[in-house]
Amino acid sequence: MAKRGMKVKNSHVKHYWIMLIPAFIWLVLFQIRPMFGIIMAFQDYEPLKGLLHSEFIGLDNFTYLFELSEVRSVLTNTLIIAFGKIVGNLLVPLIFALLLNELRVKYLVKPIQTICYLPYFLSWVIIGGMMLQIFSYDGPVNQILGFLGLEPMMFFQNAGLFRKFIIVSDVWKSFGYNAVIYLAALTGIDPTLYEAAAIDGAGRWKRMLYVTLPGIGSTIAMLGILSLGGILNAGFDQIYNLYNPLVYSTADIIDTYTYRIGFQQLNFSMGTTIGLLKSVVSFILITVGYWLAKKFVGYRVF
């Protein structure tokens, strides 16, 4: 057997192309064809004129965006919050999956998994309202803090605290659901590897470090890189339902800002412009991430 991987007959390649056809058709029809709409970012789009006849204005939309006074702060907020969420949403579900993996009380595993994955399904409209109540100035959480002799925490007034709250509450809401991928990946680890490690004297901690983590390393890397793609989407729904003018300075993200000042509503070109910018940044980040993973860790994540 050739050490560098099996040879492939040319006839197989033909089949690979055939297998790709359905996906490709789907892609062209529903994702590539509408993509021509990106032109709107460079136009002063008017519905009656359509894409073909609306006035071309080059980079005007882009320069206008960058001239807005709040651009810098909004961009910073978006990046900070998104980054915080990416890290949180990578680590916490992972830890949760690992812990669950180690749980001895087997009959609890399924119920715990199921219950923890539920908050994901509650919309922010509902959960937001709940959180406003629970973490309010005189709500249950602050009452408990009072009992413990601590100062009340103004989650929704203190700009710095609010941003952390956004990150933490989002991670809480999605960790159960996000853990599913890890759980699936964990099953793919060859159990004999654990046995071998145990025989070599590795305790639970070492087994996790040297068997489990490497076993799902590629998955972690892939999720990390994919989530980089969403770095400019910091969670409109959540922030929108929780924020107020006092915390705009740290929590106003691209999407809430543009929505609030009515940019995207009925200013068709501007919405596309913002979308395009986000796409470009995402693409660059994913490419860089992919390359880094390939070069330094040897993973080709896709």
Partner: protein
């Protein structure tokens, strides 16, 4: 949720009644034109008006169209309705009536509920395809559709087909409306006309708390502050717990004051600003005949400083802007708030539901020594109806409006109308004048002073008013009639459902009808070119700064920085543009 709570609630029924009252503000009717016809609202006879002679034109504003025409629309789905027997969405008494009696057939180009109809309208505008007509558009949507060239110039159709009653409502505010919907001599939308009562913010206060603490109703700002602090600290509900607040401020993302964009809403501080002669959010006269923006004036600075200190003192609820403050009203922990006359349908309704003994009373707070409350007026044109430029029968839309103004009860059965609600009528919009309130109070006065029910009914009918609200109120009003507190009403048993209507009209509307106030209107609703680019940013800056000042996150000096920044980032240009436009 940050929803303006209960504002929506039973407001459907409420506004139905308001429309009935406000809508019947004119005397002309199609039969005979010059005499005031007795509008027999109880009857179900459908008046086929093709037999009437309208002295004005040969066109009958309520006439059946010669041939069946089809109109497409964006239909609103009422998700909570129980249709009468045999009727369903898209096939109800109104739609049938329009087809049978007027040859107007309605089809739905698209359908949406309250949560997404607006987005569907956006989509329609964006894809360049409007149905024949659309109701309930916001100003932004109307402007976008106009800019996109999708709307028909309806000035001719309006002149020809609008009934006198309909025209009267428009002409009542002609200058304002012309400024909004006409352009280059053409008319491109029909504005709604909300009653001015909606914009008069009223100081709702727990009279029973005042009584418990032996305080009198505040007549000026100092007294207000003192009372608010007393409410917050002296346990006015006597339950031994320190759980009450004075003035309840706005909820998360709520408004600190009314401005040119919004409609009326609750929990703001306009009355307090007014005591400093400050009118933030609108264009005011600087004393020399020039327009300036109220929010940047020194008066506003003073007012903000005061409100900030009131917040510091505990006169205003601490959870303002960061929590759902309306809960304080519903849970009977708040003693004062500024709101609309119809609060008993909303927040006060909730409060009463949780404790039937609460005695909320509305007052006007005098703005100065002359005892007059300077109230910020609002824009009666809250929503717009537009007709697509491709519509083949625009007159049908106008006729539908005429029918509505004439009184739906003339065309469908009372029972149907009650069950469906006016909101489902395809050409529904608030479109009336304010006479109704005044006439209602006259009627109540007459009744309290001894006139019989029949005499009062006759008086109302003579003035083209419905008798429902009056009947509703007197059926639960107890003697002595002069007592307008909660004890002056009987809402026990079946009557509990009447609290909203009866209390809103009989008590809530009191300040509008009887108190001493003057409306201060913005000098213009114009949106200049620079405003289109910069206004949202400036507005944002304004609210953020003011919120922080009031809640103590920033000192009052932040106001000065704000003014500088405001002027620099477009405010100065905009002011010049506005002043130009008013010349």
């Amino acid at each position: 949720m940050k929803k303006v709570k209960k504002v929506i609630a039973e407001a459907v029924a409420l506004l139905m009644l308001v429309s009935m009252i406000a809508g019947c503000g004119s005397t002309d009717s199609p039969t005979g034109g010059t005499e005031s016809a007795a509008v027999e609202s109880e009857t179900t006879k459908s008046e086929d008006s093709t037999t009437t002679v309208d002295p004005n034109e040969s066109i009958d504003p309520l006439g059946k169209l010669p041939e069946l025409v089809t109109l497409t629309r964006g239909a609103w789905i009422d998700t909570n309705i129980t249709y009468p027997e045999g009727q369903s969405f898209g096939d109800d008494a109104y739609i049938r009536m329009l087809e049978e009696q007027f040859n107007i057939k309605l089809e739905n180009a698209f359908e949406g509920g309250s949560g997404n109809l607006s987005e569907k309208v956006d989509l329609a505008i964006a894809s360049g395809e409007l149905p024949d007509f659309l109701v309930g558009l916001s100003y932004t949507q109307y402007k976008a559709a106009l800019k996109a060239g999708l709307l028909m110039d309806i000035s001719q159709v309006w002149d020809t087909y609008a009934s006198d009653v309909t025209k009267e409502v428009y002409d009542n505010k002609k200058e304002l409306f012309d400024g909004l919907v006409t352009q280059d001599g053409g008319m491109y939308a029909i504005p709604s006309s909300n009653p001015e009562a909606d914009f008069l913010s009223v100081m709702w206060i727990r009279q029973d708390w005042l009584d418990n603490l032996d305080l009198s109703v505040p007549t000026n700002l100092e007294e207000l502050e003192a009372v608010a602090i007393a409410f917050a600290t002296q346990d006015p509900d006597g339950n031994g717990a320190d759980d009450t607040v004075g003035i309840v401020g706005p909820s998360t993302n709520g408004r600190l004051y009314q401005d040119m964009s919004g409609s009326n809403f609750s929990f703001h501080f306009d009355q307090i600003f007014a005591t400093y002669n400050s009118f933030p959010g609108i264009w005011v006269d600087d004393g020399n005949g020039n327009a300036v923006y109220g929010s940047i004036l020194p008066e506003t600075r003073d007012a903000l400083e005061k409100i900030a200190s009131m917040y510091q003192n505990g006169a205003i609820s601490q959870g303002m802007l960061t929590s759902e403050t309306y809960e304080l009203i519903a849970s009977n922990k708040g003693g004062i708030f500024f709101g609309c006359w119809w609060e008993p349908f909303a927040n006060i309704g909730n409060s009463w539901n949780n404790d039937n003994s609460v005695n909320w009373q509305p007052y006007s707070l005098a703005s100065g020594d002359n005892g007059i409350y300077m109230a910020k007026g609002g824009n009666p044109a809250q929503v717009y109806t537009v007709i697509s430029k491709d519509c083949k029968n625009p007159e049908a839309v106008i006729i539908m409006l005429n029918i509505f103004k004439d009184n739906l009860s003339n065309y469908v059965s009372e029972e149907d109308r009650n069950k469906l609600g006016d909101g489902l009528y395809p050409m529904y919009m608030t479109f009336g004048t304010d006479e109704g309130f005044f006439l209602l109070y006259e009627a109540l006065d007459a009744y309290y002073n001894g006139k019989t029910v029949d005499e009062v009914h006759a008086m109302l009918i003579e003035n083209n008013q419905d008798v429902y609200t009056f009947d509703n109120i007197i059926s639960c009003k107890t003697e002595p009639y002069s007592d307008n507190s909660i004890n002056g009403f009987d809402f026990t048993g079946d009557k509990a459902g009447q609290y909203g209507t009866a209390y809103s009209f009989a008590v809530g509307a009191g300040p509008f009808v009887e108190s001493n106030y003057e409306f201060v209107y913005t000098l213009t609703y114009e949106k200049t070119k620079t405003m289109e680019q910069r206004w949202s940013n400036l507005s944002d800056l304004e609210y953020t700064t003011f919120s922080k000042i009031i809640m103590g996150e920033e000192p009052i000096s932040a106001f000065d920085d704000f003014v500088t920044k405001w002027l620099k980032e477009g405010g100065e240009t905009i002011t010049a543009e506005i002043q130009d436009s008013l010349k």
